[in-house]
Amino acid sequence: MKQYFLNIWETIISLSTGFGITWVHMLNIKKGNVTLQYPEEKWPRPERNIGFNHDDYNVIRSRLTVDMDDCIGCLKCMRACPVDCISIETVKAETRGEDIKDIGHVGITSSGSKKAMVVTRFDIDMTECCYCNLCTYPCPEDCIFMTGGPNADRHPIDYEFSEYDRTDLIYRFAKKGSKEKMEAQMFPKKEKAEA
């Protein structure tokens, strides 16, 4: 009989303790909240100190990006890629080293070499990329590189690249309209015959 009332008393005490705990947590939600509203808020990136100077050591593994004004269409990165995630198509330019203004093609690279090719397609499929960094070494113009780290002045770091659609992870770097423009130049007669 004594145990019976002890049980009731213990129930009341333990229930009120539980109530208290959740009540305090509910009142302190502004302070105790652990949720991060992801796209709007992000954890601060830690200061990276891995024992060497970033500027000497081009090994950051983030997103690949291409500076299309410097790309001469030599296909070296495409050949170097072990998983074939880079696909490039080029068309011979009419005059070597000349700008084509309506597609934004730049004739001369920043290191001074004249472009013989117009790149009509430069797709990097980041779903396949294995971040081996092998494509960046053969590039004669240093125009394909990983974002951030030693290249932070050229492109801010992007390590998340989360997208709503998987196809959005195929990054298309070629200048807009270059494919249509160059194909129209290559096959003018065919178009007339069709018309």
Binding site: W23, H25, I29
Partner: protein
Amino acid sequence: MTVDALYHWLNETFPFLSGNEILIVLAILIPSVALFMVIAVNALVLVYAERKVSAFMQDRVGPMGQGVGLHAGKWGLLQTVADALKLISKEDIIPRLADRKLFIMAPFVIFVGAFIAVIALPFGETIIIADMNIGIFYILAVSSFGVIGLILAGWSSNNKWSLYGGMRSAAQIISYEIPAGLSLITVIMLTETLSMQGIIQYQSGGLFSWIVFSSPFSFIAFIVYFIAAIAETNRTPFDIPEAESELVGGFHTEYSGMRWSFFFLSEYANMLVVCGVAVTGFLGGWQSPIPGYFNTAGWSIFWFISKILFLVFVMMWVRWTFPRLRVDQLMDICWKYLLPIALFNIFGVGIWTLIFG
């Protein structure tokens, strides 16, 4: 506005139809549609509140968003709308080996059980659909009606989990009816009436004439009723009929889409009913806590709904604080603790009224 009053009003406003059966149908239909809206809005609000309360108690923020679109609106206010749209657009699956007729019927039986109990809830002095002289008894009687639906759902799904869930919920609801009923008997002993409006009239005169504060025994009766009410609505910590970790979903394992949402709707309607009975019986119903002030019809709706929402909040608080009980613990609480306490209460209230009444 009772159905009778509405019928007389319709007869007077449409004299060319007076005595016609259409008016009877209309007088029944209009309050029903209004009540359905009340239940739907109730579920809409409570689902959002439940998400937010549970989130805050677990140090989360719950549904959030910056605008309409992929997010659920400011502070996630559109979350329930998104839920409803999802449920409507979902496929309606009926298992091949299920008992088709009963399977289709079960959610509606449960919903009707919750729905017909709401008509006796007094939202104000005149705002009640059916002011019966046996109101509280009627609610107790019809709210057990949902058990049939639960057993139907459990049986017709042709699934072990569902059957276990149905059996457990039947055992639980029938057991907890007894302490709930006995604790309401203390109210009836004090008020000497079964009518919902009569019980509320007895408690007029401010905070300290409410039955919950009128004697220590009625306070205990309120606690007992509230615990039994949580058990009757199948909510945590008494949610063994739908225990996710043991029975997947219990009696609604096989349900999907709109049928499933009817279970949900009736769960929240049941919460409304049990909290409404608790408010009517113990917390003064639509009476304002300050005698003589704030007691117009509008305020009476406000008091009734805010008292209900307070109790619903306590229910959510309980749900997100305590772990689920085992089946034997559940039965222990009902038969070994709540029932003797409720019986003792009846005795105590009897003595109290003899001495002080």
